[in-house]
């Protein structure tokens, strides 16, 4: 009996060497501990063993079972290891690049717009939006632009046909539809909708009937800002723009106001900045924005009392800012979408 068990274990030790996969293993296992297995057979002989020998016999069988189980475990472990190795394949070459696409990227104009929005949000300005198709009233009349101002010419502004009908662009009366030339129309509509305090920026696409060249584009992006409240001063305007440009262009950036003229602000200024960070530009003054205190006529057109409220507005071109901060010399790059351009901003 003892001999028989020893043989079974020895045979298992020998035969396990030929087991290389799960099917082999199952067959091997069945041959020993399966219903007709060699060890099972011995165990079945237990009944014929004398009662007094049974404890010894039982002990021997248990030992044999343990030994066989140990052989199983080792074999199974090896099989599993082999299976994993096969599933995983050879070790990777970690220096190979990922076959997936290169990183995605936001367009530089989007990044600049977002950066502008972020800076203004720090000081309480939220983003307002409007439609790109506008009407002459919201784009010009309400902004105190004279009826015969050249900006309204067919030469300079894109108009929609006289019979155009827009479902979600409201008119003031029967004025013409046009493509907005600035996002100031958003300011008008925002003021008409609510009461001061108003503190918004309105980034967005604008259109002018320009021929495309290195610095002009028929569509371009602008961001305008508006703050209306009681007791808003010229100095507040300067403070806001100083804060903004220092955040945008780096510490040590200074701004300078120059008198200018816009129909919708009085007084009006153009804003120059000077920044030692932008090496290309040196320390000269560079024009960057227009601004001013909201013209009382504009308040009148939205029903605000100019005796009670005052405010300021400012505007700047997003392309121009992007060109300055990234050192881009041709506006057409923004609309060509060459990946070698775009991926630099990933």
């Amino acid at each position: 009996m003892e001999e028989e068990l020893k043989q079974i274990v020895d045979a298992a030790k020998t035969n396990v060497g030929a087991v290389s996969n799960r099917a082999d293993f199952e067959a091997f296992k069945a041959g020993i501990t399966g219903p007709n297995g060699s060890l099972t057979k011995v165990m079945k002989g237990m009944g014929q063993v004398a009662k007094e020998d049974r404890p010894t016999f039982g002990k021997l069988i248990n030992e044999a079972k343990q030994q066989v189980q140990a052989i199983y475990d080792i074999a199974l472990e090896a099989i599993e290891a082999a299976e994993i190795a096969e599933r995983l394949g050879p070790p990777i070459d970690p220096s190979l690049p990922s076959p997936d696409s290169e990183p995605g990227s936001l367009h530089p104009l989007t990044q600049v717009r977002e950066e502008i929005s972020r800076i203004f949000k720090q000081i309480g300005f939220t983003v307002a939006e409007g439609t790109e198709v506008e009407t002459e009233y919201y784009c010009f009349d309400a902004l105190n632009t004279p009826k015969d101002h050249p900006a309204r010419d067919l030469q300079d502004t894109f108009y929609l046909p006289d019979d155009a009908d827009f479902g979600n662009v409201s008119k003031n009366s029967d004025e013409r539809y046009l493509l907005r030339t600035h996002t100031s129309s958003v300011q008008i509509r925002t003021m008409l909708k609510g009461e001061p305090p108003i503190r918004i920026i309105s980034p967005g696409r604008c259109f002018r009937r320009d021929t495309v060249d290195a610095t002009h584009s028929a569509n371009f992006n602008q961001v305008e800002g508006l703050y209306v409240d009681k007791n808003v001063t010229v100095r507040d305007l300067k403070a806001i723009l100083d804060y903004f440009f220092e955040q945008l262009l780096g510490k040590g950036t200074t701004t300078r106001f120059r008198p200018h003229f816009f129909p919708y602000t009085e007084p009006s200024f153009e804003v120059d900045f000077s920044s030692s960070h932008l090496a290309k530009l040196g320390s000269d003054w560079v024009e960057i924005a227009g601004c001013g205190m909201v013209e009382p006529e504009v308040f009148a057109s939205v029903g605000y009392d100019p005796e009670v409220y005052s405010g300021f507005a400012f505007g700047m071109g997003i392309e121009r800012i992007a060109m300055i901060i990234y050192g881009i010399d041709d506006i057409r790059y923004f609309y060509q979408n060459d990946h070698r351009f775009l991926k630099q901003f990933a």
Binding site: L96, P99, D100, S101, P103, G104, S105, L106, H107, T110, S117, G124, T126, V127, E129, T131, E132, V133, D148, F158, Y159, P161, D163, F166, G167, N168, V169, P197, I198, R199, R205, R209, D210, A218, N219, D229, T233, V234, R235, D236, K238, A239, I240, D242, F257, R258, P259, H260, F261, S268, E270, P296, S310, Y335, N337, D338, H339, R340, L342, K343
Partner: protein, 813 residues
């Protein structure tokens, strides 16, 4: 507008450098776009010297060693010189050590071939006075030794090209600009004196030449003055006048015409001189043109006029288009003897309209349409008469013909100095305010306790209100000195617009999915639009006044632009494979065009061209997943809407491989799938394109709502699978929705079917032709207890019975 520095200097002392003056103009609000200096630049240490003697250089055949006198202060110096065009006693420009010549050449004391040289004698070219480099510049007239060369060669000038904003027509002249500089520098401004003319009463009668001037249309021409000068001699104008006119780009013509141009650019008043012979009936009438009246203007063009236009006419015909351009029939000619000189004030609106309608703009119309000072006519007349008499001779005759009257321009503005400080937001004293206003020729006529009455000069039509004066105060105070302050942040309780928030989330998702954002033009060509959408031709997306043929329409979709970007990158071999764009698109819904917020993406189904490891191709379901997520950012669950397969190959999409969700009531449009293979190929793009877009009306975008937590069951689920044989054309989602309804009814009140999903689709062997099998898994769960097998089985039986009885689906065993 071009402004000559030399011309300005006739009215104001300007020792500043041209650069400093340009800066001052810019800070006054007249931005200098560029400036061009002619003649000699400003040179330090270049002075007049005289060659006293010359010896041959010991070591160089071509060099002379000269003794040069440089005036008492410096004395005599030795200078080595290679030129040979001078003789002893000639005076020449000498650059002494310290001088920097044009081009940056710095003069130092140095040794030339072993001989010490104390400077350089210069050619014209070397000091920037012309192109002559052949020899020394020999100075005419023996100027004083030691004199700075700029004091000798004074024929230099700087011309500023500056921008005059439309509110400042008073600055469209040299006197106007000089007046601004005088205010800034606090300097005397000297107007040309015209008091040497004979008093009107002392002038001989010119009535045999010219009888009268009258105005029929007073609204268009409130004031008209005509002055007769007889016996002029037409010839060239003097050199100084020609030089000044040339410097600002005007071609000298003859003395009389040059005077009118000169006075226009001096005072800002347009004038016109008629040949008195050509005025039929010797009378001038300012009247509206007759419909289709013709006149040949000085630029040789025949102009056809309309009755809203205004002409200067004699008894028979129009002589000039009023305020815009004179006519050929009465222009000053070589043999002109007697003149009638017109100085007028025309209504700005009229002139602007006429100029625009005729497409004819002139220096005159430019000024009239912006508004000239109506009180300036007398001075301009006198100044022109004075200069004509001076340059062309003749006699000014009486009487003065004046039609109409000066419009009232006297204005007073009430101003509170406290109000100025409140608006400015910083301390600016009463004295500073007063100083600013007075420097601009405003007069404070009354004052009490900081409340002032300010008289406005007649030429400042732009100043009407206190806010206008605030601007003037700041301008003279110096807008560059406005102090900065602390940012006062006001909380408005507003959030960024939902469009902005949606755009951010959509863009961030797509960037995370390896897409590069592109930005394309909104305006597209009609051909391109129609190529990608058959319905576009019926939409009213065209512009009234496009600028070019390839930009005539508002885009109906972002995809054509994105494809254009893919095509460009493929042809440039940049390796880009995934692009997206966010922007506005336009579509027609029920006869009205609407502007929609749109996001679209397109990618090569196989990803990057050539890779060492292939990935599974992206397909319709990749696009569907992206479109679904994008709609989700807008708060739209597109699973709730009817999805239609695209079965028409005339669209942007590949037949049978794309889908559309179009719900105008909800204001959304989503399309996704494989793009039309043929059309992609026709675009010269190699590779299959998987794409999608989602558009929504902006007014349907709402700020994201706060989530309310829903409790969920902690008990285990039980799942039941069911395979259904259905028509091949049946949409899987319709199957799922029907089963869902049945299951919910079957379990009503007892427990819930938590979810149902398709886990297998099969067609082919074992199934009848035209059929497919849709296998769904239903998950049941109770929120209160563990479900018993029996109750689930009962419900499952019930579901199957209902399917058998009420649907066309067959249950597959």
């Amino acid at each position: 507008m071009k402004i000559s520095l030399n011309w300005l200097k006739r009215y104001i002392d300007l020792p500043e450098s041209p650069k400093e003056i340009a800066d001052s103009l810019t800070l006054l609000g007249f931005e200098v776009d560029d400036m061009e200096s002619t003649g000699l630049p400003q040179l330090e240490n270049v002075i007049v010297g005289e060659v006293l003697g010359r010896q041959q250089h010991p070591n160089a055949d071509k060099l002379g060693v000269c003794r040069v006198a440089l005036g008492d202060a410096i004395g005599e110096k030795t200078i080595v010189c290679g030129a040979s065009n001078y003789k002893l006693g000639d005076r020449v420009p000498v650059a002494i050590p310290g001088a920097v010549l044009p081009g940056g050449f710095r003069i130092k004391r140095s040794k030339l071939r072993g001989v010490e040289s104390d400077g350089m004698m210069c050619s014209g070219k070397e000091i920037g006075a012309g192109e002559d480099a052949a020899g020394l510049l020999i100075l005419e007239g023996r100027p004083e030794l030691g004199t700075p060369i700029n004091a000798v060669l004074t024929e230099s000038d700087t011309v500023f090209n500056l921008e005059v904003t439309p509110n400042r027509p008073d600055c469209l002249s040299h006197l106007g600009i000089a007046r601004e500089l005088a205010a800034r520098y606090q300097r005397e401004l000297s107007y040309p004196a015209v008091d040497d003319l004979p008093a009107p009463g002392d002038r001989p009668s010119g009535e045999e030449i010219f009888k009268s001037a009258s105005v029929e249309c007073e609204e268009d021409c409130p004031l008209y003055r005509a002055t007769v000068i007889k016996g002029v001699k037409i010839g060239p104008s003097p050199a100084w006048m020609q030089d000044l006119l040339s410097s600002i780009g005007l071609r000298p013509i003859n003395n009389v015409v040059d005077v009118t141009n000169y006075v226009l650019h001096e005072c800002g008043n347009p004038l016109h001189a008629f040949d008195a012979r050509d005025i039929k009936g010797s009378k001038i009438m300012v009247r509206n043109a007759r419909e289709d009246e013709k006149v040949v203007t000085l630029d040789d063009e025949e102009r056809t006029l309309s009755s809203r236009m205004v002409v200067i006419a004699d008894d028979e015909r129009a002589l000039a288009v009023a305020g815009v351009m004179g006519g050929q029939n009465s222009e000053v000619k070589e043999d002109t003897k007697d003149l009638v000189l017109e100085v007028a004030y025309f209504n700005p609106t009229t002139i602007r309209w006429v100029s625009k309608t005729l497409g004819l703009s002139s220096d005159s119309s430019y000024r009239f349409e912006r508004g000239i000072d109506p009180t300036s006519l007398r001075f301009a007349t006198d100044r022109a008469v004075q200069l004509i008499l001076e340059t062309a001779g003749g006699t000014v005759c009486g009487p003065e013909h004046v039609a109409g009257s000066e419009p009232m321009v006297e204005k007073e503005v009430e101003l509170s100095t406290d109000w100025v400080r409140v608006k400015a937001g910083f301390e600016i004293s009463d004295e500073e305010i007063r100083d600013s206003l007075e420097r601009l020729d405003m007069v404070i006529s009354e004052e009490s306790d900081g409340d002032w009455l300010v008289n406005i000069p007649s030429y400042r039509g732009d100043l009407d209100r206190p806010i206008d004066l605030l601007e003037e105060v700041l301008r003279i105070y110096g807008t560059d000195k406005i102090p900065s302050g602390a940012v006062a942040a006001t909380a408005t309780g507003e959030n960024d617009n939902p469009i902005t928030e949606f755009s951010r989330r959509a863009a961030n998702y797509l960037v995370g999915q390896h897409f590069n954002e592109v930005i394309n033009y909104t305006l597209r060509s009609e051909a391109e639009q129609q190529n990608w959408s058959d319905s576009v031709s019926r939409m009213a997306l065209g512009l009234k006044n496009p600028i070019s043929e390839d930009q005539t329409q508002l885009r109906h979709s972002l995809l054509p632009g994105i494809l254009e970007s893919l095509r460009l990158n493929q042809s440039r071999k940049t390796g880009a494979s995934r692009f997206f764009e966010l922007g506005r698109v336009f579509r027609e819904v029920k006869g009205k065009v609407v502007e929609m917020i749109s996001v679209a993406f397109a990618e090569y189904s196989l990803g990057r061209p050539r890779s060492w490891k292939l990935r599974e191709a992206d397909d319709f379901f990749t696009a569907k997943n992206r479109a679904t997520l994008l709609a989700g950012f807008a708060g739209i669950d597109i699973g709730r809407f009817k999805v239609s397969q695209i079965v028409d190959d005339s669209t942007a999409w590949q037949e049978g491989q794309a889908a559309v969700i179009d719900d105008p009531r909800a204001g959304i449009l989503a399309e996704f799938g494989l793009m039309n293979l043929e059309r992609i190929k026709a675009l010269d793009i190699e590779g299959d394109i998987v794409a999608g877009s989602f558009s929504i009306l902006p007014e349907r975008l709402k700020a994201a709502k706060r989530v309310q937590f829903q409790p969920f069951s902690l008990f285990p689920p039980t799942a039941k699978d069911l395979a259904l044989v259905v028509d091949q054309s049946e949409l899987a989602n319709d199957v799922v929705r029907s089963i869902e309804k049945i299951a919910q009814k079957a379990t009503q009140g007892a427990f819930a079917m938590e979810s149902i999903y398709v886990f297998d689709i099969y067609e082919g062997e074992g199934l009848p032709a035209g059929k497919k099998s849709v296998a769904v898994s239903m998950v049941f769960r109770s929120s209160e207890r563990t479900l018993r097998d029996k109750e689930v089985n009962t419900a499952f039986e019930k579901i199957q019975n209902v399917i058998r009885e009420k649907t066309a689906f067959e249950i597959r065993d």
